[in-house]
């Protein structure tokens, strides 16, 4: 696929992420935006969506997709996203928080209204809801506990992340385990998406506590 299309898809994700966070009065900086969109990719499979092939790779601060940052810049250029606060980090860099402008919000509403894009918007809202439950400050820790990332990060920087891979220690396989274990019933009830999401995020939270990750 061409670059413009890749950026377009990520513009959608960024817009949805910022809008979903906004509903909880949260803004996202560059790193948290990357994390949020990564979680969106991870749970996409529950909505019969498949993450893009060339998505995130492992990087210094967790999963990273350069197209996301390009999308943010393009959206900012177009006036859909604005920097709402800026501060220096202990490392000497500048961290900016992003929020939607009125135009961005309006465009998000347009996208969300488009029925063929709705699944993604619902997914973004569900992710925001779960993150909010466990606390926005724990967003990074939750992502660090994601099983695909846990395995891939051992391989160093630049490892392609494939959370939808059917085998191995992937998020997809984790969700399969949930379905498998909980679906053991006479009437073979389907495990609902909401329950799977709940369990998935609870898993991330409990794993993070077990390992004792700290946000740096």
């Amino acid at each position: 696929m061409d670059d413009a299309s890749d950026v377009a898809l990520r513009m959608r994700d960024v817009i949805f992420a910022l809008r979903a966070a906004e509903e909880y009065n949260e803004t996202l900086n560059r790193i948290r935006l990357q994390k949020f969109v990564y979680l969106l990719d991870v749970v996409a499979i529950l909505y019969d969506l498949f993450p893009t092939a060339d998505g995130h790779v492992t990087y210094k601060n967790g999963p990273y997709d350069s197209t996301i940052q390009n999308a943010v810049d393009a959206l900012a250029f177009r006036g859909f996203v604005q920097v709402v606060s800026s501060h220096s980090t202990p490392h000497g860099s500048v961290s900016s928080e992003y929020a939607l402008s009125a135009a961005g919000r309006a465009w998000c509403d347009r996208l969300a209204a488009e029925s063929r894009l709705q699944a993604r918007w619902i997914a973004a809202k569900d992710v925001a809801d779960r993150v909010n439950y466990f606390g926005w400050p724990r967003l990074v820790q939750l992502v660090y506990s994601e099983p695909t990332f846990v395995v891939a990060r051992n391989g160093g920087v630049g490892q392609r992340l494939r959370p939808a891979a059917p085998g191995g220690a992937s998020a997809s396989n984790l969700l399969r385990c949930f379905r498998y274990a909980l679906g053991q019933r006479r009437d073979a009830a389907q495990v609902s998406r909401q329950v799977l999401l709940d369990l998935f995020f609870r898993y991330l939270d409990q794993y993070a506590r077990r390992i004792g990750e700290r946000v740096t």
Binding site: M1, L9, F50, A53, W107, R176
Partner: protein
């Protein structure tokens, strides 16, 4: 009854084409009495002498089993350049009684390449004819029963190499030599053939005994096993593991292995299908992404137009989004880019045309994801099943091993028993025992015959034995300087009471060579040979030759005179002596020459320093060597 053999007497020899060793053809005519081949280290004395021996015998394994003493044509190959082999040859002239023959051999093969039947005759150069004539001459004029006998005489009696292969304590060699030399009293070939038969019969008898023992052992095992099986009253001390249980365990193992293989195939099929559907999903996702991005870009475009965002301002009014100024050129570019369905700023292609298939694609995606999940489940279940089957297979295998090891030893041994009953084994044993008895009888009979023959031979030879002993005593006493005689001693032969002639001096019978010093061994051996040659000469009235290499080795100054005396005695019998010696002042050769008139000395000497290829050391000392030689010559 065969006649007596004539021992050959060397007359002359000619060695051609040995340029790597000698710088020209070597030719020498022996004179009566002693003859010396003078030389130094590695100058070719031994090569020359061995070539002469080769010329007479050919170095065949028929008469010489030991490769070390064979000196066949291949022995000389290393000493000659490749191309020179064809041109190399050795001619030896020798007397057999009154007849003077000459034989020539090349070094390509060991066959005779030329023969002359008398001194003034012509050479027979056709190979086969020459060979036949040579053999014929030996048989007819030499009285030999075979060419091999002639070669044996030369190798074991007439030539004493530097390696000192002694005759004095060699029972087999003594026996054969005595029989050849006295074949008028006993046919040596027949005796030897029957001795070989005796050895073969004995070997066969021993093998029969081994077979009898094996049959006995197997019979005992079979009896024990049958008794164990047939004895219900005795409780078995070993666990009764039935073959049936083992076979059942084996079948079980095989069944589980087959199931495991089936399960593995199933897992592979599921894994393959899962990979396949995952690839389809990824391909489908690309199409979905393309459709979605088109929708997004269309909506973006619409939204920008509707809300008049900066890029729209550039397109509509030419306002630069960066600095806010009017830029018609930039506007034109933006419009052109948009017209070509590219990005307003950079012109890169923007796919904003939807195919309108997104809903269908999503629907297909949902189905494929559901199928993928289902395959994941199936694969996981199949994999679990495979794990269990592997464990069961291992357990079945362990059970088989357990049963195998628990089997009693008798059952294991049963596999090694011949498929014979007790009766068959008894019968076999009886047959073998009868065979053994037959062989024993044959051996006894043959041994008795041979003993009788040998006894008769010895009795017939008694006078000659006395003469031999007398001749020996002369030579041996001359060397030792004290009385030494030849006595009979029992040999170590396994079958016959053969006699070994050994020296006795200082009242000690020297039954082994270790009972003498090195010099004593060597010269008493020479004495024995000379005595035998003398005896042969006495019997047939013709002289012979004795070839000995470097007799001065291991000889100290006190015995040199004695040795010279011994050789002088031999030569006085009109035999020809060919000796090799190193050039040394006051050495053995000088001593030998000292009693010879000066004018006769040169004729007796073949000086290899003038023929051989000298080493650099020798070249450096050539003047001294020449001076020594001249001194020896009395010049």
């Amino acid at each position: 009854m065969p006649g007596r053999v004539l021992l050959p007497q060397l007359h002359s020899f000619r060695l051609r084409g040995f340029e790597p060793v000698f710088n020209r053809e070597v030719m020498f005519e022996l004179v009566a009495g002693y003859n010396l081949i003078l030389g130094g280290n590695a100058i070719g004395k031994t090569t020359l002498v061995q070539a002469v021996v080769y010329g007479l015998t050919g170095g065949s394994e028929d008469f010489e089993s030991s490769r070390e003493f064979r000196w066949s044509h291949s022995y000389f190959r290393g000493r000659l350049a490749r191309g020179e082999l064809r041109n190399a040859s050795i001619e030896v002239e020798f007397g057999l009684g009154k007849r003077v023959c000459a034989v020539r051999r090349g070094f390509i093969g060991n066959h005779v390449t030329g023969f002359r039947g008398n001194k003034r005759g012509t050479w027979i150069d056709e190979r086969e004819q020459a060979g036949a004539a040579f053999a014929n001459a030996l048989l007819r004029y030499g009285g030999y029963a075979s060419v091999d006998d002639f070669a044996f005489i030369i190798h074991r009696l007439l030539y004493l190499p530097e390696s000192r292969r002694l005759l004095a304590w060699d029972t087999e060699a003594q026996l054969r030599l005595l029989m050849i030399l006295n074949q008028d009293l006993a046919p040596e070939r027949s005796f030897e053939d029957r001795r070989n038969s005796l050895q073969k019969l004995d070997s066969k008898k021993r093998h029969t005994r081994v077979a009898i023992n094996k049959a006995e052992s197997e019979l005992t095992s079979l009896i024990e096993y049958d008794e164990t099986v047939d004895a219900p009253d005795e409780p078995s001390t070993e666990p009764a593991v039935s073959l049936a249980a083992l076979n059942e365990a084996l079948r079980d193992w095989q069944t589980r292995a087959r199931e495991r293989v089936r399960a593995e195939r199933e897992v592979q099929t599921f894994a393959k299908n899962l990979n396949s559907i995952t690839r389809e999903i990824e391909a489908l996702q690309e199409q979905i992404d393309a459709e979605e991005s088109a929708i997004i870009l269309r909506l973006l475009d619409q939204h920008e137009r509707d809300t008049r965002l900066p890029l729209q301002k550039l397109v509509e009014r030419g306002i630069c989004p960066a600095c806010g100024t009017e830029q018609p050129t930039l506007q034109g570019i933006a419009i052109e880019h948009l017209r070509r369905r590219g990005c307003a700023l950079c012109g890169s292609a923007v796919q904003s045309q939807e195919a309108g298939t997104l809903t269908t694609l999503r629907s297909r995606m949902a189905e494929k994801l559901s199928a993928q999940r289902s395959l994941q489940e199936s694969l996981a279940t199949a994999d679990n099943r495979l794990t269990v089957l592997r464990t069961e297979e291992e357990a079945a295998q362990a059970r088989v091993n357990e049963l195998r090891f628990a089997q009693p030893v008798v059952m294991l041994a049963e596999r090694h028993l011949p498929l014979q009953s007790q009766q068959n084994l008894r019968q076999l044993k009886a047959t073998l025992e009868q065979q053994e008895l037959d062989l024993e009888a044959q051996i006894t009979g043959l041994k008795s015959d041979l003993d009788e023959e040998y006894t008769a031979f010895r009795m017939a030879m008694s006078l000659r034995t006395e003469e031999l002993a007398r001749l020996y005593a002369d030579y041996a006493t001359a060397f030792l300087g004290l009385t030494c005689d030849l006595v009979e001693s029992a040999s170590s032969d396994n079958f016959l009471d053969l006699v070994l002639f050994v020296p006795r001096f200082e009242d000690v019978v020297r039954t082994t060579e270790d009972s003498c010093s090195e010099a004593q061994r060597f010269f008493l051996d020479i004495a024995f040979r000379m005595a035998l040659i003398d005896l042969a000469a006495t019997l047939n009235g013709h002289q012979s030759s004795f070839v000995c290499e470097t007799p001065e080795t291991a000889l100290d100054l006190s015995y040199v005179d004695n040795v010279v005396q011994m050789f002088a005695k031999f030569c006085r019998q009109a035999h020809t002596l060919l000796l090799t010696a190193n050039v040394q002042r006051h050495g053995f050769a000088e001593l030998m020459l000292s009693d010879t008139p000066v004018r006769q000395r040169r004729r007796r000497v073949l000086n290899l320093f003038s023929l051989g290829r000298l080493s650099s050391v020798q070249q450096g000392k050539i003047r001294k060597i020449d001076a020594a030689v001249r001194a020896m010559m009395g010049e």
